[in-house]
Amino acid sequence: MIPDVLIIGGGVVGAACALDLAEAGCRVHLLEAEGLGGGATAAAMGHLVALDGSPAELDLCRLGVERWKALAPRLGTALEFDPCGTLWVARDDEELALVRPRCEAYQVAGISAEMIDARHLHEVESCLAPHLAGGMRVPGDAVIYPPAGARLLSEAAHRAGARIETGTPVATLEPGGVRLMDGTRIAAGAVVLAAGSASREFLRHLPLVKRKGHLAITDRHPGFLRHQLVELGYLKSAHGSDADSVAFNLQPRPNGQLLLGSSRQFGDDSPELRPALLRRMIHRALDYVPGLAELNVIRCWTGFRPTTPDHRPLIGPMPGRPGLFLACGHEGLGITTAPATAALLTAQILGRSLPLDPAPFLPSRFSELAHA
């Protein structure tokens, strides 16, 4: 039997789930407390990136990027889909030595990747500093505009029959449904919790913490940059547990603006900018792209990534709570992996064949959830 599905959260993950579930024949009702794509989605860079923190992560990214490519023509130009690819940059020979095995791992996972030596690095991206050692190009990666992504996915879900309701905060989860802040009870065969960091407000014991990030954007300089650039040390920052870290990450927006990241902080729940960290982030970028020093940053902002202890999202049934499914905790990969999350979750809810191994993402992998 096909259940009615209620989705809590209208970020990119909730919206992607709404579309897939509606197209699979479910009667879908999405409840967003504020506006569509207004939380971590709006703060994100929008880099569709194959990241290999683990084989499972790489597989989820691969499916996510593939599905975004298929979705892009449907969703229209407001998505600002740009197949710019990623150029991973090595600072020195030690980092460059990691490129060959990494390329091979990508190829095994079915993702195209090529080594770039120091000599060709400048032909590929002329703004890079002369001392850099080389890199790895992943031509299949891309960029979108995340808040538009959430809105366009929601609109597509609406066209497929989903009911999308904004400005409607949920108060509590109840067996067989939810209760809204205004006291209304809504029953559903399945409830999907896709509220990012706010998911903990409904399940206090979820292993989720907020990991703050800073971003900065310049005004328009078309042609300055072709690929999204990321330092090869990025994974160390992304998957490390340091209180504060920065990693170089620079993205060409389709309008010519340059979007600069990234920082990661635990234990800072204030949205305020931290100038010292922003300075570290910018100085890091100047090591790779010295010409940035001539440009103006015109806006800066922060956001919060919902982070689990093993940096993998929570996707699947919540143990001990029949009918409740999680789709949250995507940290910095929520944009990339939203359509993959939606595909996996839809198959789990409907008992259909799964698009990838669900085990690395199951909520039950955490003992505090397994015994709930």
């Binding site: 005004d219 309008n255 001539e294 440009l295 103006n296 015109i298 806006r299």
Partner: protein, 75 residues
């Protein structure tokens, strides 16, 4: 009274003024992607709406002193 040049036009501004004073009324510094005019809003270097080019470098008109002979290009 310093004299500056804005897109080739001669503009005299009061001593001690910033370049935003030379942008006319309404003051136009640059244009957004739709072609709509943008200009000084906050007047204190926060909004970045008054970006102009001086000597090949992008500066904020509201923070840049209008010194004698400056050539200003609007975006």
């Amino acid at each position: 009274m310093p004299r500056v040049f804005v897109d080739g036009l001669t503009v005299d501004v009061p001593e001690g003024a910033r370049l935003s004073a030379a942008l006319g009324l309404p003051p136009v510094a640059c244009r957004d992607l739709s072609g709509a005019p943008r200009g000084p809003l906050c007047g204190m270097g926060q909004c970045f709406e008054c970006r102009v080019t001086v000597g090949g470098r992008e500066v904020l008109a509201c923070l840049t002193p209008a010194t004698e002979g400056l050539e200003v290009r609007r975006g």
